[in-house]
Amino acid sequence: MSLRCQSLKKHYGSVIALEDASISVENGEIRALFGGNGSGKSTLAKAVGGIINRNAGVIEIDDKEVDFASPTEAKAGGVVVASQELSLFHNLSVAENIMACSLPKRSGFRLDRKAMRHRALDVLARLKLPQIIDKPMRDLPPNQRYMVEFAKTLVQEPKILILDEITSALYKEDVQIIKHVMHELKETGCVILFISHRMHELFDICDSVTIMKNGVTLATHRIEDTTSNKLLSQMTGIPIEELEAREQSAAEAEPDDVQDDRKALLEIKDMELKGFGTKISFTVREGDFVGLAGLQGHGQSDLIRQIYGLGSRAAYKYDGELFVATSAQKSAKHNMAFLSGDRTGESIYPDRTITENVKSAANLIVGKPIRSAKDVLDRFGVKYNGLPNQKITSLSGGNQQKVVVARWIATEPRLLLADDPTKGIDMQARYDLHQTLVDLVEKGSGVIMVSSDDEELVEICSMPNARVIILCEGRITKVLTGADITTENIIAYSFA
């Protein structure tokens, strides 16, 4: 088996996910793909697995060109993808889940439950988890779910196996088991693409590594020819010496508890981050801007959602008093605001007018009614052609988001929580939103903003009293301030 990709390209509208990705993996090779947010690792994996259609480029398996239109076709061609977005049925048993793509038949019709169980048990035994076979999927803890996803790909007898971040929820012991199985597959000539943000896993498991950045494959190294600092240096452009020097000084300095006489607005101490089980502590003072960075899905969203009372209970000090966040309504009434990047799902009322949308939070929840929606809309520069009573969906995405921002700023929030608020809006709207956030901070409110775009965070954190907290696997790995806030640094600290 061998896999060759030549100049793959993938665009989503104007967003370029893959610019020019070329890799060549030989028989029995385990190749790591390494890169930050939006570097195109997952897109490359999906393009090879037939989950998305590429715009250009050639994929060759065993020197024969292939073009899979669907994951089912790719599976028939021996290419199987296991991804962080699991493909499991919570209502079926583990055995049924593992065998869902390859159910054994008896006399051409009947489901052969015995054979199904038997084969599932075989695979689970290889993963040292035979005891879970009859459990319903939903009873499994997260790490075992990922193991089942892995088991599901194994029974499909992959010739080209793509593992996209499935180790992120696994314990060390689990990863060792997966490593062992991967090496067994390697012996049979299977080609494996392995995506992980854990540096030590790459060095432990893989034969070679390809660095990706902005949708381009930068370089490929034999694993024994490189080091983690070399990889980071190549990806970020920070000189190796600096990275090494940093490692030594990391243990000494802890810059978080600086003396500051501004009033503390939000004090979080050892709050458990649900889903990660880690403890988080940080303080936001009046006039603070906090950017939350890291690779996607490492707890940034979960953290601010937990603060806002979405999901599980959270307790912390807010405005000097103990506050238990139990619901969004309670938090909003206490002068918090939440901006979501998921406009259609979480922000706008699509069937309602612009006026109603802008008034909803202040009038209905907080109880500080807006007199004139028009004034507010004009203040935030919403372009609505003088028709404030048309449906909000008649506006462009950027203007819709402005309406949502206006809705919350009009409530004069003390603490604004923003979850990737500029996702998918144009540059001008984005600039305007940043300006609004800066104004809010200058008036003495606190802002915590998550962004999947590191450059955006660097840009907006150029103001005083701004810092960037970087999370990895739900843990704060670094707090950057002042001139240290650079995209290179953010990426460098995003990897465990």
Partner: protein, 330 residues
Amino acid sequence: MLATIKKLLKWTSLPAIVLFVLLLVYNAVINPGFMKQSTFYTFLLTSTPTLCVVMGVFASKIVGGIDISLGSLLSLINVTLAWMFTNTDLPTALVLAIGVLMGMTGGLINGISIGVLRVNPLLATFASSSVYGGLALWIMPNPGGFGVPQSLIRFTNRIHFGFIPSALIYLMIPLALWLIYALSVRVVAVYGIGGNEQCAYISGMPVMRIKMLAHIFGGLCAAVGAIAVTGLIASGDPTIGNEFSLKAVTAVVIGGVALSGGEGDIWGALFGGLFLTMILITIVSSKVPTFAQNFANATILFVGLLLAVLIKLVSEYKRTHPRKEVKNYD
């Protein structure tokens, strides 16, 4: 042994069975004649049309949809059969075959609008329900069509070999079909689609085909129910099935089938249906005044529904909040 009991306690059909047995015992106590074989056969026969619709609704629910048109479809087939028996000379078998075909076509129409055109199942079947019900009223504005052949009436009321009533034969047709289908490899896909349609698609399961099949099966169930009704009342009644649709949905919910799909089995649905029809008998035998009967019926139903949902919530809670692990030394 202990494991079997534990499994039984977790069985989604258990609440429905318990509710049914409770009513059964109550009836046996207040009405000594109730446990006679003949009473039971009558009970089963009058329940048959409802139970057929219940099985149809069950199939649509298990794949994550719903079908509230089956009662109207049953009415439509019932009046069509009665009309054909009265106004044409077609042989009985042919008329019945046409009825079955009508049912499957009605189901196919639902299946196409839901599976292929992706209309919301509730809306799609609400719309088709109006169409089927309207057609039934057009064919036969008032109950009538008394030309139903004696052979069908006699067969419907007969008890074979002294212990197999025809009602059971009617019920066995859809039940056996379902149980056989449930043995095939498709059963994983059926439950999988109900659990997560997107995953089912990614896993290469024929989502569209299975959804259509579920609705065609529902139509078939309505047809069998319609034939039983025709033999039972020996005529056509354009509104006879109207109340079956929502009754069946209630029965299926009481039977432990998840509203979102992918969970529960046909036994629970059937016992849910039996519980529902048993309520009526209970009210009559308890000598509830005529004007209060509707109220009593609805109240028992409501309590039953609450109990079933409550039991589910409790087991759900136990599942998501397991007790701290205790070391097992056996």
